[in-house]
């Protein structure tokens, strides 16, 4: 990132002159140079070449936007892999890292381009919400293009970012209060989770979600608040909000209270405690079985000792009559039947 502050070009406060205005100016006049904006939440720099956005570089304190962190959080790259890449290669910028990832087949071009475009839009979403800070535009003749990002139309990026900001405001209202803690409803107690390999579990879960949803799903650990999940998700604030609402509506995640959430699952006897509600269901089933047995066994009394029911009494009468008729039929078969001789 170009951190050198120079006197030529534009230098203004966000309070006086909005970022979108200067961007439109750069686009309309097809300027080339670097636009850098800085506030207490972080710093971001975009490179323009004849009005098109060709590169960017950002650092935010509350949001995960750096490529390394995104790759680590999405388990594409582990810490050890990153260290070994640093040892073996000269990784001065993100561009170097991306080239190495392609050469080592850790990622591919399309995936990186997609990630970078999302990061670019996210950088706009974050910075366009800033109300305090300074920015500077430094014209330059020679601008390096990002190797894995096609030149972008600034107006499109601005419009898309503003749309996301607007819709996100509505979604955040629905998610209020954002300090609530949710956890995924696929609960695993300690004894169960010990038998499940974490990486394999993630692979299994991936079958059910798309990549973005899975990244958000992973953050529901019963400790992070919704605000933290939105900020730390690598899918961007807008998509995180959308996914969280989707998860809550579909009961993929459930609210964890302070008394019962994560802490309870870490209790020494998780299975026994859990089973109490299941036992309640079994008690009802047992009662149903027993009452049915009592009704059928004692209600449908057959014989003199038990109280007859209408059904059993009629059946007995029918049976007796049936036997009598069979007896009469048997008598017909006797050759010296007195009825016959009559």
């Amino acid at each position: 990132m170009n951190n050198t502050w120079v006197t030529k070009g534009l230098d203004a406060n966000l309070e006086n002159f909005e970022l979108t205005d200067i961007m439109q100016l750069i686009t309309q006049q097809a300027k080339s140079g670097f636009l850098t904006v800085k506030s207490s939440d972080g710093i971001c720099s975009w490179s323009f070449n004849e009005g098109s956005l060709v590169d960017f570089d950002c650092e935010f304190s509350n949001h995960v936007l750096e490529l390394k962190n995104i790759l680590k959080q999405s388990s594409i790259l582990s810490d050890s892999q990153l260290i070994s890449l640093h040892k073996d290669n000269y990784l001065d910028t993100n561009h170097d890292l991306e080239k190495i990832l392609i050469s080592k087949n850790i990622s591919n071009r399309e995936e990186l381009e997609r990630t970078n475009l999302r990061r670019l839009i996210e950088s706009f979403v974050i910075t366009l919400q800033w109300t305090k800070g300074r920015y500077k535009f430094i014209p330059a003749d020679k601008i390096n293009h990002h190797p894995f990002l096609a030149p972008q139309d600034v107006n499109f990026i601005i419009l898309e970012s503003l749309r996301q900001i607007d819709e996100m405001a509505v979604m955040k209202k629905r998610l209020q209060p954002l300090d609530r803690i949710f956890e995924n409803s696929l609960t695993l107690s300690d004894d169960e989770s010990s038998g499940v390999n974490g990486i394999l579990l993630q692979e299994g879960l991936k079958d059910q979600f798309d990549q973005g949803e899975f990244e958000v799903y992973k953050l529901f650990d019963g400790r992070r608040s919704l605000q933290e999940i939105i900020e730390t998700s690598i899918t961007g604030q807008f998509h995180s909000c959308d996914t969280i609402i989707n998860f809550i509506n579909r009961n993929v995640v459930a609210l964890a209270t302070t008394e019962t959430g994560y802490q309870l699952r870490k209790s020494p006897e998780p299975v026994q405690i859990r089973n109490l509600t299941g036992i309640a269901l079994l008690i009802l089933s047992g009662a149903l079985l027993l009452s049915t047995f009592l009704t059928v066994e004692f209600g449908n009394g057959r014989g003199s000792l038990k109280r007859p029911t209408l059904f059993s009494a009629i059946i007995d009468n029918l049976e007796a009559d049936q036997q009598m008729t069979q007896k009469l039929a048997r008598e017909l078969l006797k050759q010296d039947n007195p009825n016959q001789s009559k």
Binding site: V196, G261, I279, S285, A287, T292, R307, Q322, A329
Partner: protein
């Protein structure tokens, strides 16, 4: 019964003038000389019959001409069916010593003698099945079924079978479904309790369930338990399962109505088929029987007649508790007849219950003001109860005053309507002659079968309105939970864990089970272990595995194929119902008792279940191996 009594009394009251006697003699003479068809048919038939049964041992060559002659006489006499002879021929064919051909000849003859009845066809169907001539047997079964529902006498059996099946099936289906689902959702309830309930909440849940269980057992009220369990299950059930529960609970609406119809048919049977068979040795059914015994009661008098007839039948067999039961049903129906009170009081005495009988005799005397019998019986009660000679003699005096003939019958020991107990005679009464006229137009004001039904399945005092309210509340609860339930809810068929996949997946296993199933052997025991997601076989898991094999449709239910499971279970419940009703033996002569329905149907159902079980488990194994060998 009522009509025969009326006829006797009419004869007694007829003036015996000489003119009328001569006229009567002429009519009788004409009747004997000109229209003696029935009488002569009787004697000719008996001769022909003697010819059939006199053959020892019977052979086909000799049987056929004899049977043909018998049937010729039957046809000449315009007699369509002679069911008692058909029954006798079927009994004759049951002799093991006879050759298969002779058996077939005899059973075929039974069919020809009673061509409109299904019981000879049923016997023929059974015979063919035993002789392994299955196509013939099956064709015969269809013929029997056709006759079974079209014959006016036997159709009552068919009607009873149908309506009681309609009452039994939804109840049994919901019962089995709820029990299976409670095993299926056990794990889900455990997990969900962990997520949403506090410590106090869990304790409250246990306490509430224990209280409800106690009430259900003590009352006992199985239907209430069934409804509570169904709605409880819907808390965490998948949409498919809730829809299945919803449909079954909705179908409970017709249960009491079907039960009412079925029991009315059952009561109307009153052995009408066998009575007709017995009373028609000449082949002509008694119209008296058919007048009121072959139809379900459509008014109060018919109902009372049927109940009274049942009570008399039970009393004659000395089954006093049952006879009492029938008479009490008449009184429950708010029909007050002196004869009923008198006979009921007698039955109480015969069971040693003198307290109740005294009041009933007084009531009987109130309604039968011209009869001395209630007072006579009352006098016996006083003697039996506490040897109160004074009261007894007063009652006896009233009895003799009203009916002087009673003073003579003390020596008439051969009276068929008396019962002896402790050396004392009790007099039973018939229904009054004007009874039918009195109640003919009165519709049954009260459903006599439903209170018993509700008492059995719910608790005493429940009426139809309360029943419908309970069903409606349950339906409302189920619809509410159906609306609340997310469409993507799944229960893992292996471990029972609840999960909510965002994408539509074909596999109905949770991610953890998919991963755990990577290295398994193919032994059956291990298969069950895999299915239950554990290295150990816990009792609940063994119960699950046994349930899948024993109860058809239970595995598809577990695996989320609710409709396949319900279909299989429906067939099983139908067979189970057929088995139960055949246990009562009243269906013994009819199609439901044939091996096709009783033996072969369960074989087909369990085979189908086994095939489905194998089919559903095999893709899972393929999946396991494929995942185990990436």
């Amino acid at each position: 019964m009522l009509k025969s009594t009326t006829k006797r009394s009419c004869l007694r009251e007829k003036p015996g003038t000489a003119y009328s006697l001569i006229l009567l003699s002429i009519i009788l003479l004409l009747f004997v000389q000109i229209l003696p068809t029935e009488v002569r048919a009787d004697s000719n038939l008996q001769d022909a019959w003697q010819e059939i049964i006199s053959q020892q041992p019977p052979s086909c060559d000799s049987l056929k001409p004899a049977v043909d002659r018998f049937i010729n006489i039957q046809q000449q006499s315009n007699i369509k069916n002679i069911s008692i002879y058909s029954l006798a021929l079927i009994q004759m064919a049951a002799d093991d010593k006879l050759s298969p051909v002779v058996k077939e000849t005899l059973t075929t003859a039974a069919i020809r003698i009673s061509p409109e009845y299904s019981f000879p066809e049923t016997a023929f169907c059974k015979l063919m099945f035993e002789q392994h001539r299955y196509p013939t047997s099956l064709v015969s079964l269809f013929r029997a079924l056709k006759k079974f529902q079209s014959n006016p006498l036997e159709s009552l059996y068919a009607s009873t079978f149908f309506w009681l099946a309609l009452a039994f099936t939804p109840l049994a289906l919901l019962f089995f479904l709820s029990l299976i689902l409670s095993i299926k959702y056990y794990r889900a309830f455990c997990d969900k309790g962990n997520l949403n309930l506090s410590n106090q909440g869990r304790l409250k849940t246990i306490l509430i369930s224990l209280t409800v269980a106690f009430l259900i057992i003590v009352l006992p009220a199985p239907l209430l338990g069934l409804l509570i369990l169904s709605v409880s299950l819907a808390l965490l059930a998948t949409r498919n399962d809730i829809i299945a529960l919803l449909l079954l609970v909705a179908s409970l609406i017709i249960v009491p109505l079907a039960y009412e119809k079925g029991m009315a048919s059952l009561l109307a049977l009153d052995s009408s088929f066998f009575k007709a068979a017995r009373s028609s040795t000449s082949g002509i059914n008694s119209e008296d029987n058919e007048a009121y015994l072959t139809q379900p009661a459509t008014n109060q008098s018919q109902l009372v007649l049927q109940l009274f007839a049942q009570a008399e039948a039970a009393r004659r067999r000395r089954e006093y508790a049952k006879a009492t039961f029938f008479l009490e049903k008449i009184i429950d129906n708010r029909v007050e007849i002196g004869a009923v009170y008198n006979n009921l009081a007698n039955l109480y005495i015969l069971q040693g219950n003198y307290e109740k009988s005294e009041a009933l005799f007084v009531k009987a005397a109130k309604f039968e003001k011209d009869s001395g019998i209630p007072y006579y019986n009352l006098s016996v009660t006083y003697i039996q109860k506490n040897f109160n000679l004074q009261k007894s003699s007063q009652a006896l005096a009233k009895a003799f005053k009203l009916d002087p003939s009673l003073s003579k019958v003390q020596t008439d020991i051969s009276n068929s309507e008396s019962e002896l107990r402790s050396g004392t005679r009790l007099f039973f009464m018939n229904l009054p002659e004007n009874f039918y006229r009195r109640y003919a137009d009165a519709q049954p004001g009260k459903k006599i079968y439903l209170p018993e039904f509700f008492q059995q399945v719910l608790f005493p005092g429940v009426n139809l309105i309360l029943y419908f309210i309970l069903i409606s509340v349950s339906l409302a609860g189920l619809i509410y939970f159906l609306y609340q339930t997310p469409a993507n809810r799944r229960i893992c068929s292996n471990c029972g864990r609840m999960f909510h996949p965002v994408q539509k997946i074909k596999e109905k296993h949770c991610p953890i089970c998919l991963l755990n199933n990577s290295s398994q052997t193919s032994s059956l025991l291990n298969g069950f272990r895999v299915m239950t997601n554990s290295s150990k076989l816990y009792p609940l898991k063994i119960v699950k595995a046994v349930t899948w094999v024993l109860i058809p449709g239970s595995y598809p239910m577990f695996a989320g194929y609710t409709m396949i499971g319900s279909g299989l279970m429906f067939l099983t419940v139908l067979w189970f119902y057929n088995h139960l009703i055949c246990q009562t033996t009243i269906m013994a002569p009819f199609p439901p008792s044939t091996a096709w329905i009783n033996t072969l149907l369960p074989f087909i159902i369990w085979s189908l279940n086994f095939i489905i079980l194998i089919f559903m488990l095999s893709p899972k194994r393929r999946h396991k191996f494929s995942r185990g060998n990436p």
